[in-house]
């Protein structure tokens, strides 16, 4: 089991290095000279040369890459172009807001998806099943920049119950969390339905019934514990969509998180900041997936033995 865990961690580290490399290369994808793109055409030759040296762009690419990775290992993401603040400090200042939004959305999604998916699985083809499938298709087809404005129009503009946007008061959290949570609840409910439905057809469920255990006990002790594993994996995978969706949702509601930061950085052509944000979000996703993998191994004796 220890070997399997070490392998997982090794693989995740490799992926993390690859992600960092891709993000590093992002800067060199900008059309023409990155320095020119960042400073604009009006910049003087001296300014350009200064920035080029400061960012180490005059060195050969492999040397630059080594420097970038070495900086990352020390938690150094470079300096933001405009303000010259360290990128890591700018990101850390925004991170709690994004984490708050993501966790609220996740809790909301689980609270909606688990009961819905469960009811749907208990009576396939029944009313709840149909409601769940319809909601799942709808939820997957409603991106946050459609659902968000619609919710905003209904609850903030027409009914006036909630503030339109911002991230100062507690009430401003409701709409963004709802937007993001509903999008996550849709595929989750579907997955819960499939996982519980499949588990209920397993021979050990029939055996448990045959031993005379009550329906409730079979459901809670035998079916749900086994169905929890695929659901856990999917939650981990969907968190990626959640983090990506958070970027757009933050923009819709003016939520001052890391997603809004990356969009501001793109507008100002502040590439070091763009790189830092993209890297932070992606690496958190890698870490979350590693964590679900490890949890899976710990929770499932069959995987542990293999």
């Amino acid at each position: 089991m220890l070997n399997a865990l070490l392998l997982r961690i090794g693989l995740a580290l490799g992926v993390a290095l690859g992600v960092a490399t891709l993000v590093f290369l992002l800067l060199h994808l900008a059309p023409g000279d990155p320095v020119e793109a960042m400073l604009g055409e009006s910049a003087s030759a001296a300014d350009r040369a200064a920035l080029r040296t400061a960012m180490g762009l005059d060195a050969p690419l492999p040397t630059q890459w080594l420097g970038y990775v070495r900086g990352l290992l020390h938690g150094d993401l470079g300096l933001a172009l405009g303000s010259q603040h360290p990128v890591s400090a700018l990101i850390l200042a925004r991170l709690p807001q994004t984490a708050l939004l993501a966790v609220s959305a996740l809790v909301l999604a689980l609270a909606l998806a688990l009961p819905l998916g469960l009811r749907a699985a208990l009576r396939p083809g029944g009313g709840w099943d149909r409601v769940t499938s319809a909601l799942a298709v709808l939820g997957m087809s409603l991106p946050s920049f459609v659902l968000g404005p619609l919710l905003m129009m209904a609850f903030a503009v027409w009914l006036g119950w909630l503030p339109v946007s911002g991230s100062d008061e507690a009430a401003t959290l409701v709409l963004p969390a709802l937007t993001l949570g509903l999008a996550l609840a849709a595929p989750l409910a579907r997955m819960v339905r499939v996982a519980v439905g499949e588990t209920l057809r397993e021979p050990f469920i029939v055996a448990a019934h045959a031993r005379g255990l009550s329906g409730q006990r079979v459901l809670w002790r035998h079916a749900l514990r086994n169905a929890a594993l695929p659901v856990l994996t999917l939650v981990g995978m969907q968190l990626g969509a959640l983090l990506g969706g958070a970027v757009v949702t933050e923009m819709v509601f003016g939520w001052a998180g890391i997603g809004q930061l990356v969009l501001e950085a793109i507008q100002r052509r502040d590439y070091p900041l763009v790189q830092g944000c993209v890297l932070t979000i992606s690496l958190s996703y890698v870490a979350i997936n590693l964590l679900t993998d490890v949890l899976y191994q710990v929770a499932d004796p069959r995987v542990r033995a293999a």
């Binding site: 690859g18 997957m140 459609v146 990506g244 969009l263 507008q267 993209v278």
Partner: protein, 271 residues
């Protein structure tokens, strides 16, 4: 019931495709500014009303269909070509090539959702072609994974081995003996990628990274509607409903195909 639903979905998709192809032939003026009609609410003549420059929203929604369908199809095509080539190469070459390509796929999969596309579109700069490249860079991975797994399952079947023993070249092996067997899951994946690309294009345009004003795209129309939400709420439903109808239908049809061909677990919709 299901048949009616799918028939309806095909009809909706055809209507949008017709708008995309024939929208320019209609006597519509999506860019015609009429300052006497600014924020005019929906009426019998203008059933979605007018925007902040007095342009007809209905005309703009129809002309936006061209952008959505065009980008969606282009992204799906590029991603399909790249993804299937990579998947086939990995599965057929095996060994080190397979290992490296699989790691590459893993790395691209490690970027959450639309984030990589946002970063790419942001760095490449605005413009329709850059949107297509940015989205294709995100979408090829699903095809590659699928093509690799399917090819592995098929490549040591008897008919492939027999063809190889008879001296068939690589092109014949792939084109006649492997691709026809793996095409069904790829088509299902394509319908989901198409839906995803349409959403993602609208998303990028919504963020100001895709189609630029004055050209109309559903995404930048929603962006504008957001700015005038308090003054002119009638600007919002048109592009939202257009986008939803296209995406819901593509997803329903993808599900239908998957059911008909009884495929399991070709990628769940990620976005």
């Amino acid at each position: 019931m299901k048949r009616a639903l799918r028939g309806g979905c095909i009809a909706v998709l055809l209507v949008w495709l017709a708008c995309a192809l024939g929208g320019r032939l209609l006597p519509l003026q999506p860019d015609a500014i009429d300052l006497t009609q600014v924020f005019a609410p929906p009426s019998a003549a203008d059933w979605l009303g007018r925007d902040e420059l007095g342009r007809s929203l209905a005309a703009r929604v129809i002309s936006g269909a061209g952008v959505s369908c065009g980008v969606g199809l282009a992204v799906t095509l590029v991603a399909l070509l790249v993804g299937v080539s990579v998947g086939l190469a990995a599965a057929l070459a095996g060994g080190l090539v397979d290992l490296l390509l699989t790691r590459l796929i893993d790395i691209f999969m490690a970027f959450p959702g639309i984030l990589l596309a946002i970063a790419l579109a942001g760095v490449l700069g605005p413009g329709l072609d850059n949107v297509v490249w940015a989205l294709a860079a995100v979408s090829w991975v699903g095809f590659a994974r699928l093509a690799r797994a399917q090819t592995y399952a098929v490549k040591s079947r008897d008919h492939v081995l027999a063809a190889r023993a008879l001296g068939s070249g690589r092109a014949v092996l792939i084109g006649r003996h492997i691709l026809p067997l793996i095409v069904a899951p790829l088509v299902v994946e394509a319908s989901f990628v198409l839906a995803g690309a349409v959403v993602a294009e609208a998303g990028l345009s919504f963020l100001g990274l895709g189609v630029q004003a004055p050209a109309a795209s559903w995404g930048n129309m929603i962006r504008q509607a957001m700015q005038f939400l308090l003054v002119a709420p009638h600007m919002l439903p048109g592009p939202c409903l257009a986008l939803m109808s296209l995406v819901v239908c593509a997803n329903v049809l993808g599900d239908g195909l998957r059911e008909r061909w009884q495929l399991q677990g070709s990628q769940e919709n990620k976005r």
